[in-house]
Amino acid sequence: MTNSRLLSIIRKEFVQIARDPRTLVLALIIPVVQLFLLGYAANNDVRNIPLAIYDQDRGPTARALIDAYRAADYFKLAYDVDSEAELRTLIENGDARAGLIIPADYSLQIKSGSSAQVAFILDGSDPTAASTALAAAQFIGQAHATAIMSERLQQKGQTAALTLPVDVRTQVWYNPDLASAYFMVPGLTGMILQTLTSILTASAVVRERERGTIEQLIVTPIRPWELLLGKLLPYTILALVNTFEVLVIGSLWFNVPVRGDLFQIALVSGLFLVTGLGIGLLASTIANTQQEAILTVWMTLLPSIFLSGFFFPLEAMPRFLQVISYAIPLRYYLVAIRSLMLKGVGIESLQPQIIPLIIFGLLIMSAAALRFKKRLD
């Protein structure tokens, strides 16, 4: 008897979802749009920075330096200018993001064996792009200088190739190309789980109040927990479908590896889902209209985005923000899902993330369940 009541609510909820185009779009299309937007737009990979060159030397030696910059795809030679003023204007306009000034005596200095100075100018108004460009510019310059040095030594009769005293070989694990998508896609599953489930759950509950249908529901023998579960289960299923959707597109389109166990990924996602559902339910007990509910959910969303390490590395934050970030459930999920997907570790090594997730889920869900009443006042 009890089961049939619960099933009736769940079936009704699914029929409503299927017949409400707004919910359907929100639930099935928005995550894909978000994935593509963030997969492409939130891209920290810096390529093809427009470079303006003021080459006062015009000799083959200077040409070699320019070629070295051209060879790396960090920069593209966009402008060849004839004065410093012209270069300044290009950077001020934003037409060029970097400038290289080679002095007139560059070849002479190199030939004479002394140190030639070139100037490399970067537009720092976008620090993320600039820091990548800065590192690239320095690295290309150093490499070129080392090549010239080696040449000089050979000319002096040293046949042995130049060996550097220390050779640092860097290896990047898990994401050798440092592709942003590797970082964004797992994070996005977390964002979608939290945003979508909380918004959908909150609207589903508030909609009953807004349209007055709650009055009829109240006057049925449905028990509060049946109504609660009947509301939560459909959106749990929907959210898990979404997570799967994002993972499939992420791995097929963005080539993000899914190295961990799928079952464990679902398990950790399900755990985090409890928090999302709880936030939605809690919002629904505060809000009277769907708009209010969505606004309430949004207020929890902003700190989650900025203080969870979704966009910005936690390590770069001031100490007090780092402390606050411990109160953001998404933080733990992000670490866990990135480890599961990219590193392929098992959940047994993710206890520091899983335990807080359990605690947060329990706290938020019980607070919501306590506030959730099957009454009008």
């Binding site: 029929v15 007055g212 009055e215 009829q216 009454r375």
Partner: protein, 329 residues
């Protein structure tokens, strides 16, 4: 047997509801110490203007909101302590259409049949039976959103009746419904209560006096108080001989004169004539005083008429207004 029993039900909104807050006069006592009983097979009309507390009272009966004091019993079950059992006996039609617009007529009925525990093999025949009863059997697969106002009310009634409740609570069921549908609707309700076997107890709230006169018994609710109770005939009898009808020209000047007469308590405009309520026993005196006014005023008709429920209600509320206020006692 009494299917609905309310004992001293009270409910306030605003500050008075919060026990820790000081009682303040602005707290609204929506329902104040209301007691009433409705038997099986009876239609009880809860009559009162907007804001009298009708909706709050009905919500208290089904425990949709909690009572500050008093108790409601539905078919022997306490509304507050046995809400699931009590609600299983209640069919409730709220003032606002409160079914699912995305669902079809039949899906709505099925949902409410199932959550109220109608067995799986029974809901289908029962749904068709009840749809035929309210005259919607052709519209089973139509989305509720696409129904007209009157059809929505009938669907609401069907959903309220689908589990064969013994108590039917109707909150202004015909507000905003056309006269023809309203007539249909009342016929349905009368058929429900007249069924000897499953005689249902109906409590219906309405602001309309003509609807109230269809009820077996009426309670007049005003500012949360139950002013009086009785059959329509009993209530009308309380003003027997005290209502005069006056017609003549110009009506406005006649009204002014009537209002100044010592024997007249109240004057109401009723279309092209006036209804005067006179003090007990003062009818004949008033008639003789007002029959022949000075020219050019002219009275074409002045006589005692049977009082209507509206007259009774106006008289009673005027009495309450004249009494010393009980606020802040």
């Amino acid at each position: 047997m009494d299917m609905i029993e309310a004992k001293h039900l009270s409910r306030a909104f605003g500050k008075a509801h919060r026990p820790w807050a000081k009682q303040s006069p602005d707290a609204l006592r929506a329902v104040d110490d209301v007691s009433l009983r409705v038997a099986a097979g009876e239609i009880y009309g809860l009559v009162g203007p907007d804001g009298a507390g009708k909706t709050t009272f009905i919500r208290l009966l089904c425990n949709a909101i909690r009572a500050d004091a008093g108790e409601a019993t539905i078919a022997g079950y306490s509304a507050a302590r046995q809400p699931e059992l009590a609600r299983a006996q209640i069919g409730y039609l709220s003032q606002r259409f409160s079914l699912y617009e995305e669902l079809t007529v039949l899906e709505n009925l099925r949902f409410f049949a199932e959550v109220r525990g109608l067995p799986a093999q029974e809901w289908k025949p029962r749904c068709h039976e009840i749809l035929a009863f309210v005259g919607l059997d052709e519209f089973g697969s139509r989305r509720a959103k696409l129904l007209s106002g009157g059809m929505k009310q009938k669907l609401g009634l069907a959903a309220a009746l689908v589990h064969r409740p013994r108590v039917l609570l109707l909150d202004e069921p015909t507000t905003g419904v056309d006269p023809l549908t309203r007539q249909d609707f009342w016929q349905l309700i009368i058929r429900l209560v007249s069924d000897a076997e499953h005689g249902v107890a109906v409590l219906v709230s309405t602001p309309y006096m003509d609807e109230a006169s269809r009820c077996g018994r009426i309670g007049l609710l005003h500012h949360g108080h139950l002013l009086t109770e009785g059959t329509p005939t009993q209530l009308r009898a309380t003003l027997q001989g005290r209502v005069l009808e006056l017609a003549g020209t110009p009506l406005r000047a006649l009204r002014r004169i009537a209002e100044q007469d010592v024997g007249v308590e109240d004057v109401q405009m009723f279309g092209d004539r006036l209804h005067l309520r006179v003090k007990p026993g003062a009818g004949d005196d008033v008639i003789s005083r007002l029959r022949a006014p000075a020219a050019p005023l002219q009275v074409t008709r002045l006589r005692s008429v049977p009082p209507q429920l509206e007259d009774v209600f106006i008289a009673l509320t005027a009495e309450v207004a004249a009494m010393p206020t009980t606020e802040g006692k």
